[in-house]
Structure formats: C-alpha cells, structure tokens
C-alpha cells in the first residue's frame, strides 16, 4: 500500500465514524419502534415477544387533566434495577415518545414534557436487568390537543 492510498483510507475511516456520542441510539438500532402505530407493535419492536407484567413499582406521575396537550409534564420513577425505560402513548400517529437507556448506577426519576393530540393512555415499560418487562399505564385527559393533527 502506498502512502497516498493509506492516507486516503485513514480519511475514509474518520468520515465513516462521526463523533461517537452514543452508547445506544434506539432510533438507529431499532428503527421500527418509531414507525409503530400501536403500543403493542412498538413494544415488540423494542423488546421482542417478551410478556409485560403490570407492576406497582413503576410509577407515572402526571396531572389527570392536561389543559394543553402540547406540553404535558410526565414523571417516570422506579426502584427496579433497570436497563431501559420506554414511554409510549396511544393517541398520536406513532406510539413511541422516548426511550431512556439507564446508565450504570442510574436513578430512574425522569421528567419530560410530551405532546398528545387527544385524551388517551400513557404507558411506561421498564426493562429490568433481570430481563423482565414491568409496566404501568395512566389515563390522561387532554383538554386541548397539542399535536397539531
């Protein structure tokens, strides 16, 4: 290999691997999750055919009635030793909203503001380090839809 070729190769590698900021980017690793139009589809795209079990250890905090569907604050908490946490809902065109990868020694106490175009259900799935899926859901009333269609 001559020097020019070698340098060219080096350059190509640099271009192919842009700043590696991600550990797990679920949009790249599991693109189908974000296209799924039902909660079930999204969950199986994320976690395969594993069964969900309802758990009171998974906590969802939100106001029961959201006056503005464009800004709905939701808090997700759990003590379960978790690998990842997914937040989904069943009224927008697609179901998945956000998937957190829980870092080593991570605390699952996440607050985020989401959009919902109508009243419906938010569902949280916690993937435990034991491989099981724990879930909880909450009915939400949305007074003014915030998804602009």
């Amino acid at each position: 290999m001559n020097r020019r070729k070698f340098l060219g190769l080096g350059l190509a590698t640099v271009v192919l691997t842009p700043v590696a900021i991600n550990a797990i980017d679920f949009r790249k690793e599991k693109p189908d999750v974000w296209k799924a139009q039902s909660v079930d589809e999204a969950i199986s795209a994320l976690y395969g055919d594993k069964k969900l079990q309802d758990s009171d250890k998974v906590k969802i905090k939100a106001r029961k009635v959201a006056s503005n569907g464009g800004v709905i604050p939701i808090t997700v908490k759990t003590d379960i030793d978790a690998k990842s946490v997914a937040l989904l809902q069943d009224v927008n065109p697609e179901s998945a909203v956000i998937v957190w990868t829980v870092p080593e020694d991570g605390i699952v106490d996440y607050n985020v503001k989401i959009k919902m175009k109508d009243s419906g259900k938010v569902i949280v799935v916690v993937e435990g380090k034991d491989g099981k899926l724990y879930s909880a859901s909450k009915e939400m009333e949305v007074a003014l839809g915030g998804c602009e269609g």
Binding site: V19, I21, N22, A23, I24, D25, F26, R27, W34, G70, V71, I72, P73, T75, Q89, N92, P93, E94, A96, V97, I98, V99, W100, T101, P103, E104, D105, G106, I107, D109, Y110, N111, V112, K113, I114, K115, M116, G146, C147, E148, G149
Partner: protein
C-alpha cells in the same frame, strides 16, 4: 434554534439536573401543514467526564423546547455535566455546565 440551558445541582450525593433545549420539535403532520420539513431531536446524551449519566432516544412527541429533568449519582461539585443532542437533520449541539 439550538440554544440550550443546563442547570445541575448537587444535593447530598445526588445531582439534580434540568436541561432546556430550544427546538421547534416540528412533527411530520405539523410540518406538512406549514409546508416545512419535519425536524425534532432524536438523541440526547449527558456525560460527566467519560461516564454517561443520561441517555435518551426521542421522537417528535416531546414538547416544543423540550425540558428534561433527571437525577444521577457519582459526581461532585465543580464537575462538568456535558449534554449533547442531535436532531433529525443531523445537527449536533454540545454544551457543558459546572455542577453547583
């Protein structure tokens, strides 16, 4: 677009972080109506040094100018919390803030 505000405060051994990102979070439907291209944040990561303390893959359904709150352990006062996000168009923004 692209501005980001970070607040991080140590309480006991837990850091409480608030991150506000200025971003339209334009959904596909809203973009169609406005005749624009959809664009929203797709990935957010928070680090202290090399250690990841927060990581999320996100969809168009976060609110406009998303606000994220989270907690983590293992950092001390003066450490830097660095947040990086990327959107659908590939724009990447990184900002750091000292933990108070």
């Amino acid at each position: 677009m692209g501005k980001m505000k970070i607040k991080a405060k140590l309480e006991g051994d837990i850091v409480k972080a608030n991150v506000m990102i200025k971003h339209p979070m334009l959904t596909y439907n809203a973009a169609k109506k406005k005749g624009k291209e959809a664009n929203f944040i797709t990935y957010i990561v928070g680090k202290v040094g090399d250690k990841i303390v927060y990581e999320a893959s996100t969809s168009q359904f976060l609110s406009e100018n998303p606000l994220l709150r989270f907690k983590f352990k293992g950092a001390k006062k003066g450490d830097k919390l660095t947040i990086t996000w990327r959107d659908l168009k590939g724009k990447t923004v990184t900002k750091s803030k000292k933990i108070k």
